[in-house]
């Protein structure tokens, strides 16, 4: 047995010194541009002019006040849910349950919208707001309790709870809350005007709540003791214990807030955007929010930017559909491509490929 040759992969992954935040941002932007090019190639392949498409998207979003308002309306739930999710993720709690928490927020708020629409407007709005937060918080509490108590896998459990929540709406729609006056398909009645959010600058006032929440979450995460605690727990729960923190308590508290915020998002969708409780109250926002929060590195400011980007894509693609005859699904296709590129580029923040390494230079 003498010296033998081994097959060695051509490229070899090694850790590198982490690159600074600024450079990381540049890399992300490069990835974004590459994604636009890749998306463009895709459009070319089906015989569309990508420049025209991109132009239509941008123009479509900003061509009129109404277009801008529509874009903002898409953005509101994305921002709110992403804020909620980012608190959980900061703590390394893989809450995939934003969708369900949004729904339950909507359900709880809708109860008051449907059955107490005679209350004074502001009282009702505040009650609905609190009910929405409570609904989301309860839906977040269940998996958190099981995680803390039995170490139940939170990713899978929150995922299941999304669909349980979804069918709770279906149940309410088909039975107890069914609008008897609705012709054909069962649906829940449209809310009384008194039970819907007021419009400010042409958009339901949910955008104001979103901005307040954004600022609040930013402050909470960066400047409060509780925010500091949750960051320590996320960083290392052993260190948190070392510092005398009650890890379980912090986990539950944070998840109540996280779920509560998502629940507020649901309340805003139901009472602001839809003026009813539809089964699509969350409509995938909870999932998109997870992606947005992750892309934004859990930074509320960047969440705002990325949510705007997603909203623009979505609104713009509707214009593309009507103007150019391409399916509005192009928006999600583009989103997907962009996300794949950005996620791929994050690899280069921490690792690099090395050619056939000189042995022993470990």
């Amino acid at each position: 047995m003498s010296s033998k040759t081994v097959r060695e992969p051509l490229l070899h992954i090694v850790k590198r010194d982490e690159i600074p935040a600024k450079k990381a941002m540049v890399l992300r932007i490069v990835a974004f541009l590459l994604a636009l090019i890749a998306g463009g190639l895709f459009m070319l392949s089906i015989g569309c002019n990508p420049i025209e498409v991109y132009q239509t998207i941008i123009v479509g979003c900003f061509r009129s006040n109404m277009a801008i308002q529509a874009t903002v309306k898409i953005m509101i739930p994305l921002v709110i849910a992403a804020l909620g999710v980012s608190l959980a993720f900061k703590m390394r709690f893989w809450n995939i349950g934003a969708e369900g928490q949004i729904i339950m927020g909507g359900v709880f708020a809708s109860y008051f919208a449907l059955f107490h629409s005679d209350w004074p407007h502001w009282v009702l709005v505040i009650v609905m707001f609190l009910a929405g937060a409570l609904g989301g918080a309860i839906w977040a509490y269940i998996p958190t309790f099981c995680k803390v108590r039995f170490n139940t896998n939170e990713t899978l459990f929150t995922l299941m709870l999304n669909y349980i929540a979804y069918y709770i709406i279906c149940f309410l729609r088909d039975g107890p809350w069914c609008d008897p006056n609705s012709p054909g398909f069962a649906k829940i009645a449209t809310f009384d005007d008194n039970a819907t959010l007021d419009k400010v600058l042409g958009v339901h006032s949910g955008w104001i709540i979103a901005i307040i929440l954004l600022v609040a979450v930013f402050i909470y995460m960066n400047y409060t003791k509780q925010g500091y605690e949750l960051a320590v727990v996320g960083g290392s729960s052993a260190t948190a214990t070392y510092a005398g923190m009650n890890v379980k308590k912090i986990m539950i508290r944070t998840m109540l807030i996280s779920g509560g915020i998502c629940g507020i998002g649901g309340m805003i969708q139901a009472t602001g955007a839809d003026a009813t409780l539809s089964v699509g109250v969350a409509g995938g926002v909870g999932f998109t929010a997870i992606i947005i929060a992750w892309m934004a590195s859990l930074d509320p400011r960047i969440i705002l930017i990325i949510s705007a980007l997603f909203a623009i894509l979505e609104k713009g693609s509707r214009v593309v559909e009507s103007n150019m005859g391409i399916s509005a699904d192009s928006s999600a296709v583009l989103q997907g491509i962009i996300l794949f590129f950005i996620m791929g580029c994050e690899f280069f923040f921490r690792y690099k490929f090395q050619g056939r390494a000189k042995k022993g230079s470990e």
Binding site: W94, L159, M160, Y163, I164, F171, I291, G336, I337
Partner: protein, 317 residues
């Protein structure tokens, strides 16, 4: 009796696409990758299978295309999570968004180019998709109807499940591959090529998932292309993986249970006061209960493979 036979047959048909999705996801999770892109890969498979069938009128080519499309989606996932070590949940969700969208997008595009503004599978292929009566066995009264008169997908799905069980539990490769999902560091130390096997399993799993998608497009929808034809079955499949405790054989009967849940609402007498939504909720509710119960009992053998969700990097021991 007839009613019961019809019920079982309907349940089996409802179970089939979930079975494929579940088997595909088991392949993923067994190597430690939770892939939330099942819905997306199914959609990609649905679209590719349907369109190729529509154009070529050849069932075999359609199935190959469905497999290939699912596999391509999975390859993308594998590249991002295995090689580039991106977050599995986020990549999976993105794959779902992307896959569903691209299927609808292509469907829209094809419809807009067709003369009739609708897409219907040609004769040859629909007849090939009809029930196949297994000679002799299919003639047995009742049992023959319940077990041996299905379309090709059903048989194929059960065969894949059994083959997969043999692969995981009766071969050395399967033993090695499962070790990757449990403890990639130990597998690596034992000389198993972790990255290679992760890719192989994830990609084949994606392909199987894609075939399940083709079922929804070609059979459930009656041979006409409709948007969102997978309609959330991918998520039921993810739930079923837990319910089946990550075992392919359990997936067979598990999918039957979930299939029954899916069709129960059509068969329960009108005077039973259970709302329809509850039937639809059952797969998720039951899975959640199983999940919590297993965590309370701390069942290690019925748990998710231990390395699920955590990407493996050798130098980070």
């Amino acid at each position: 009796m007839d009613m019961l036979i019809k019920f079982v047959v309907a349940a089996v048909v409802a179970a089939t696409p979930i079975l494929y999705g579940t088997l595909g996801e088991i392949m993923n999770e067994r190597v430690g990758h939770i892939n939330l892109g099942v819905e997306g890969m199914m959609s990609m498979g649905a679209c590719a299978g349907f369109m190729v069938g529509y154009i070529t009128d050849n069932l075999f080519l359609a199935l190959v295309a469905a497999f290939a499309a699912g596999a391509v989606g999975a390859l993308l996932y594998a590249f991002l999570t295995v090689t580039l070590m991106a977050n599995q949940n986020v990549v999976g969700l993105t794959l779902t968004i992307f896959g569903v969208a691209i299927a609808n997008f292509v469907g829209f595009y094809m419809i807009s180019r067709s003369a009739t503004k609708s897409l219907k599978l040609p004769e040859n292929i629909t007849s090939a998709l009809g029930s196949i009566k297994i000679p002799l066995l299919g003639d047995i009264p009742v049992l023959g109807q319940v077990l041996f008169q299905y379309n090709i997908f059903v048989y194929l799905g059960v065969i894949i499940a059994i083959l997969m069980a043999v692969y995981f539990y009766k071969t050395k490769t399967g033993l090695n591959v499962r070790a990757i999902g449990e403890n990639p560091g130990a597998a690596d130390a034992a000389g198993i090529r972790v990255t290679k096997w992760k890719y192989i399993n994830i990609v084949i799993g994606g392909g199987i998932t894609g075939i399940g998608g083709a079922f929804t497009a070609m059979i459930t929808a009656g041979g006409v292309w409709i948007s969102d034809c997978v309609g959330g079955l991918g998520w039921i499949a993810v739930a079923l993986v837990i319910f089946a405790s990550w075992k392919p054989v359990n997936a067979i009967w598990g999918s039957l249970v979930f299939g029954i849940f899916r069709i129960l609402k059509y068969y329960v007498p009108k005077n039973v006061p259970v709302p329809i939504a509850i039937y639809d909720m059952l797969p998720f509710l039951v899975t959640a209960i199983v999940l919590v119960a297993n965590s309370i009992k701390q069942r290690k053998d019925n748990a998710q493979p231990a390395s699920c969700g955590i990407n493996y990097f050798r130098e980070e021991r």
